[in-house]
Symmetry: C2
């Protein structure tokens, strides 16, 4: 037997308290949490089943699998309909479900179980709470950043002349896995897909993808049209490496750009501009600011450098320069022109102001930052300059 | 510019015809397909947007990304609400949505766009159609099987004494990726997660997971509790390898078991029993049979060998011995006691009658088969015997 809750008591208390206060504030009597990322947030582990969190009182954990879990409120059920008996007379007037991710059929099934309750959507509540990381979470992200950096520092040493982008990627994947990378790349929602990360060289950087990532690439098969496409890495071209930083269940997101020999001045200039944008935003960001103000600051710097045509893509442009990161890669806040997010201390944000230079490749950097009272502090500290692999 | 439809014309015609006939039969006037796996099935590529398939007439492809697609019926939209203008006066009386995978909020948004239509669930229709593979699809699965086999034949040569399970896995991942494995492991629904596959050795094979996979394992982090856990591979123990076979957008699923030195007779006996079950089911299966009959046949053979205590797990047991496979790992038909699936020619099914022997590890094999008029033909032909790595 092992305890279902594997977070330290105080940490569990903080997270549960945050959720219960948010439910109370929105007059939701209880939330039924079924999403793996949210269950992991609440308990420190993934299990099959659901966490029933009342706005007041003790949670109930309805577990289907694995066998052998115990602790306060743990009840084994074979199907969701068995939950009703345990909730009994305390049926909530308003039940919160994660309606942005729960499939329609599943939500309809749960509606029947809570047939006397009104239904509310707690997806935004959970996303809002998870966007402000606790010290415990920041420490896990920091640990991921340390390992992520260790891998990136070794990248120049594993390049061999004549490699394709995918061959290079496979060797980086290997050292990353040996360093402890879990591989799993959690993305909220069904629409985005990526395996381990995105490595782009030369012309392929300008190939558009269907996914909402900052950069594109054709991929090696139309079933997964993103990233490396088997291009040989050629002199005068850049290689942008944006690889999975999930070492602890919490991810860092980091991009570095390499070149094979010298690249044209436009590419170097754009890379320096990316570094400048990151540093400027890191200095400027404060709690209470609108996230979109950071996007506007980036656009202003890009305009000053006359690089707009290449910013965030060339044939196809991404609509954001940054995003929250933690258990999943697409968390709040979003740094985009129409974002309504307001910055808060404890936000962990990846900034990725990137450029695509036709014929050369992608340039720019990405760091993962935590917002403190003094601005953004980087948790991903590999060297930022364009590194020549020759 | 490139054509949105990248399937050959005849293949596209077959798939579209199958969907349109099924919609007509169920009196659904049109389906709006948004799931990546289903869009890939219909067009041969993944795109952001949706495929509007009327029961009669020409489909419309509403594309958000990537830029540069063209062809009959291709219309670029920025948001789903723009679809209404193109469908115009032909609004369907009944609109089919993929309600088993579409998030509740998304379905509600689509409901408003089709406010004059009744809503039907086409998830089962699509799953049923996709469970009967076309010759074109079977060829892609066969190609995956050939590469998958090539990788598995090399496994004994990359083992080094003293390796942990995860170190062994990383080296197999590497040769698999170099052979062309796409990495992406598509699973329908939100609840199951796996990175590249499951390698189990010794006691870890008996650790239960929250996921609905045939086998378990603790994993290396509670955020992804499945598979290898860093155990050193020891003499007298088995190593079961069940690794991603997605080389073409279509997967094969194959498991082979290795041992370090000799293992106790019970483990060898159970391994032979797994092989016997696969061979017997392959000979017996015919179109029109109930899928559950294959499960019962497996149980009968297990009982004859007195191995029930170890079958499909020991501390925790899986409830199935086989599953359809193709674009996703959890397709129809399901080979389980309460399955209602009926076998059809063109089904592609992975059979994985496995055993967990306490203290030794997991044993057994898994092959991916296609159902023909003569029974199941294996598409995964690496040697099936227990292979000694010493």
């Amino acid at each position: 037997m092992s305890q279902l809750i594997i977070l330290p008591d105080t940490e569990y208390g903080i997270r549960l308290g945050n959720i219960q206060r948010a439910l109370s504030a929105q007059h939701i009597d209880a939330a039924l949490i079924t999403d793996n990322a949210n269950k992991y947030y609440i308990t420190g582990r993934v299990f099959s089943g659901s966490a029933y969190i009342p706005a007041e009182g003790m949670p109930i954990f309805f577990v289907r699998r694995p066998v052998g879990l115990e602790g306060d409120g743990v009840i084994y059920v074979r199907k969701p309909e068995e939950m009703a008996a345990s909730i009994g007379l305390n049926m909530p007037h308003v039940i919160g479900l994660e309606l942005d991710v729960t499939p329609y059929s599943t939500a309809e099934r749960l509606k029947k179980i809570f047939s006397s309750s009104d239904m509310a959507n707690v997806s935004k509540i959970m996303s809002q709470i998870r966007s402000v990381k606790t010290d415990y979470e920041i420490e896990l992200i920091r640990q991921s950043g340390v390992k992520h950096e260790r891998v990136y520092r070794r990248i120049p040493h594993i390049f061999r002349s004549g490699m394709t982008d995918i061959e290079f990627q496979i060797e980086i994947e290997r050292i990353s896995r040996l360093e402890g990378c879990l591989g799993q790349f959690r993305i909220s929602g069904n629409s985005m897909e990526l395996f381990m990360g995105n490595i782009l060289t030369g012309k392929n950087a300008d190939n558009p993808t269907p996914y909402d990532f900052a950069m594109g690439g054709e991929g090696i098969d139309p079933s997964l049209p993103v990233g490396a496409n088997g291009s040989v890495i050629r002199p005068g071209e850049t290689i942008m490496v944006d690889l999975n930083g999930n070492y602890t269940g919490y991810m860092t997101d980091m991009t570095r750009t390499f070149s094979l020999g010298n690249v044209e001045p436009l590419a170097s200039k754009a890379h320096e501009c990316s570094i400048a944008i990151c540093h400027e935003i890191a200095k400027t960001a404060r709690q209470g600011m609108e996230a979109k103000a950071l996007y506007e600051l980036a656009e202003k710097i890009v305009a000053e450098h006359d690089l707009h045509a290449y910013f965030m893509g060339h044939r196809q442009k991404a609509g954001f320069i940054g995003h929250g990161v933690g258990i999943e890669i697409n968390e709040a806040p979003v740094i985009a022109p129409r974002s309504r997010d307001i910055l808060a201390i404890g936000n962990v944000v990846a900034l990725e102001p990137k450029f695509v230079i036709p014929g050369v490749g992608a340039v720019g950097i990405e760091n993962t930052y935590v917002l403190t009272a003094d601005g953004l502090t980087s948790l991903t500290n590999a060297p930022e300059q364009l590194i020549n692999l020759e």
